[in-house]
C-alpha cells in the first residue's frame, strides 16, 4: 500500500480524458435538458471538469497559477450561480415554471 507511488503512476493524459468526458457529459446535458435549473447544474458540471483539468496541469507542471485560476473560477461561478438563481426565482414568480421551452414567446 503505497499511495504516493499510486499517485505517481497516474499519467496526465488520464486526467485529461476524465475531465474531457465530464465536460462532454455536461455539454450533452445542456443540449438535451430543458429545465433551467438542470441546465445550470450541467454548466456547473462543465466548470468542474475545467477546474479538474486546470488542477491536473498545474500540479503536474508544479506551477501554482493554474490552481489560482481554478480558485477564481470557483468564486466567480458562485457569483454567477447566485445571480442566475435570482433570475430563475424571478422568472418562476412570473411564469410558475423553469422549463426553458416555455420561453418560446420569443421566436428563435
Amino acid at each position: 500500500m503505497k499511495p504516493d507511488s499510486i499517485f505517481h503512476t497516474v499519467e496526465i493524459s488520464h486526467y485529461i480524458y476524465l475531465s474531457c468526458v465530464l465536460f462532454c457529459i455536461g455539454l450533452f446535458g445542456v443540449l438535451f435538458r430543458r429545465n433551467a435549473i438542470v441546465l445550470l447544474m450541467c454548466i456547473e458540471l462543465m466548470l468542474n471538469a475545467v477546474n479538474l483539468l486546470f488542477t491536473a496541469f498545474s500540479s503536474y507542471m508544479g506551477d501554482s497559477s493554474g490552481q489560482l485560476f481554478v480558485f477564481f473560477v470557483m468564486v466567480v461561478a458562485a457569483a454567477e450561480a447566485a445571480v442566475g438563481l435570482a433570475i430563475l426565482v424571478m422568472m418562476f414568480r412570473n411564469t410558475r415554471t423553469t422549463d426553458v421551452s416555455f420561453l418560446s414567446n420569443l421566436k428563435g
Partner: protein
Amino acid sequence: MRSLLLIFLGAIAILFAGLGKKEIRMLPWAIALLLGALVFIPMDWIANEQPDWVNHIVPYFMMVFDRSALAFMAVIIIAAMLVLGLFGQREITGSDQLGLILFSLCGALILCSFTHMVMLFLGIEALSIPLFVLAGSRKKDLRSNEAAIKYFLMGAFSTAIFLMGCAFVYGGTGTLDLSVMQRVIPGSAAMGGMTGLAKTGVVLLMTGLCFKIAAVPFHFWSPDVYEGSPNRTTLFMATVVKIASFSAFFRLFNFAFSSPLAHGNWSFVLAILAAATILVGNIGALAQRNLKRTMAYSSIAHAGYMLLAILANPLESFWALIVYSLAYAGSSAVVFYILNKVQEKKGNTEFESFNGFGRANRWLGILLILALFSMAGIPVTAGFAGKFLLFSAAFTGFKWLVIVALLGSAISIAYYFRVFRHAFLTEADGDIIKPEWQDSVFLAIAATVLLLIGIWPALITGLQLFELH
C-alpha cells in the same frame, strides 16, 4: 488605470447616494463621471512612453494601459456615454441600475487592457454578471425575464467553453500570461507549430468569444435577448459589450496567438465563421418585420465585418476596428434612440410604426438617414470609412472574404432602405417626437462623430500608435 478606478469608485458612490431615496437624479453625476474618465485617457496617452507592451508589463499588475488599450477604452466610454445620455431620462429608476451599468463598464475596460487570462476571465464576468441582471430589470415583464434567463444561460455556457479553452491552452503552453504565451505558443518547428492541446484550446477560446460577440453559428441567442431586454440594455449589449468583446478578441488573438505559425492554425476557421456571420446576419435581417430584431441581426452582421479586423494584419486593422466601432456605436445609439421613442408612442417596434416618421420629425429624420447610411456603409459617413479601412486591411490576406463582406453590405442596403421607405416614403402621418435638450446634446455628439470621422478618418487613423510588435 485612473479611468478604471474613477469609474469603479464612482459606481460605488452612486450606489450609496441613491440608497433609501425614492427619486434621485444620479444620471448627471454618472455622465460627469464618464467625462472625467474620458479626460484621463488623453492624459495617459501623452504620458504613455511604452513602446512595446510585452516588455513593460508592470509587475503583478496583469493589465497594461498602452495606447491600443486606451483607444479602445475611449471608444467604450464614449459608447457608454451615449447609452446613458440617450436613455437616462425615463428608464433609469434607481441608482442600482446605474451602478450596475458602471460595474459592467469596469469589466469592459478590463477587457481592453488585460495581459493575463485571469483578468480576461474576470473581465468577461464583470461585464456579464451585471448585464444578466439588467436584461431582466423589468421584473414584471415576461419578455425581459426570458431575455435575462437566456442571456444568463448562454453566458454561463459560453464561459464554460471559454474556460475549457483556457485550460487547454494552459496545458499546451504551461502559462496563463499573454506575454509568455506569445513566446511559447508557436511551439518548436520540429513539432509542427502548436501542440494539439494548444490548438484545441485556441479553437475553444474562439468559440467562447464568438458566443459573446454573437458570431454564427453561436448567434441564435442574440435576437431573442436583444428583443426582450429593455431598450437601454439592448443598446448597451449591442455597443459596449460587443466592442469590449472585440477588444478582448483582438488583444488575445493578435498578441498572444499572433505568430505566423499559430496564425495559420486558427485564421482559416475564423475566416469561415466571419463569412457565415456576415451572410447569416444580413439575410436574417432581411426576413424581419420588426426594427429591434432587424437591428439584432444587423448587429450580428456587423460582428462579422469586425471579425475581419482580427484576421488581418493587426497593424493595419487596429485603427480600422476603432473607427468601425465608433461608427457602429454612434449609429446604433441614434437608431435605438428613435426606436425607443417610437416604442413609447406606439407600443411596438414593427416597421409599420415608423410610417411617416421622417416627415413628422425633420431633424430626427435626417439623423436617422445619417445613422442608416453609416450602418450600410455609404460614403461620407463614419461607417463607410470604417468599412473601407477594414476591407482594405483584410484584402491582402483574405480576398474571398472581402468579396463576401461586400456582398453582405449590398444585401444590408436592402433592409436599411426598408426602414428608410417606411420612415420617409409612406403617406401616413408619423408622431411628432420632441427630444429633450439633454437628448439633443447627445444626439448631436453622435451625429458629429458619424460625420466627422466620415469626412476626415485621418483624425483617428493618423494617431501615432507605437509599434504593436
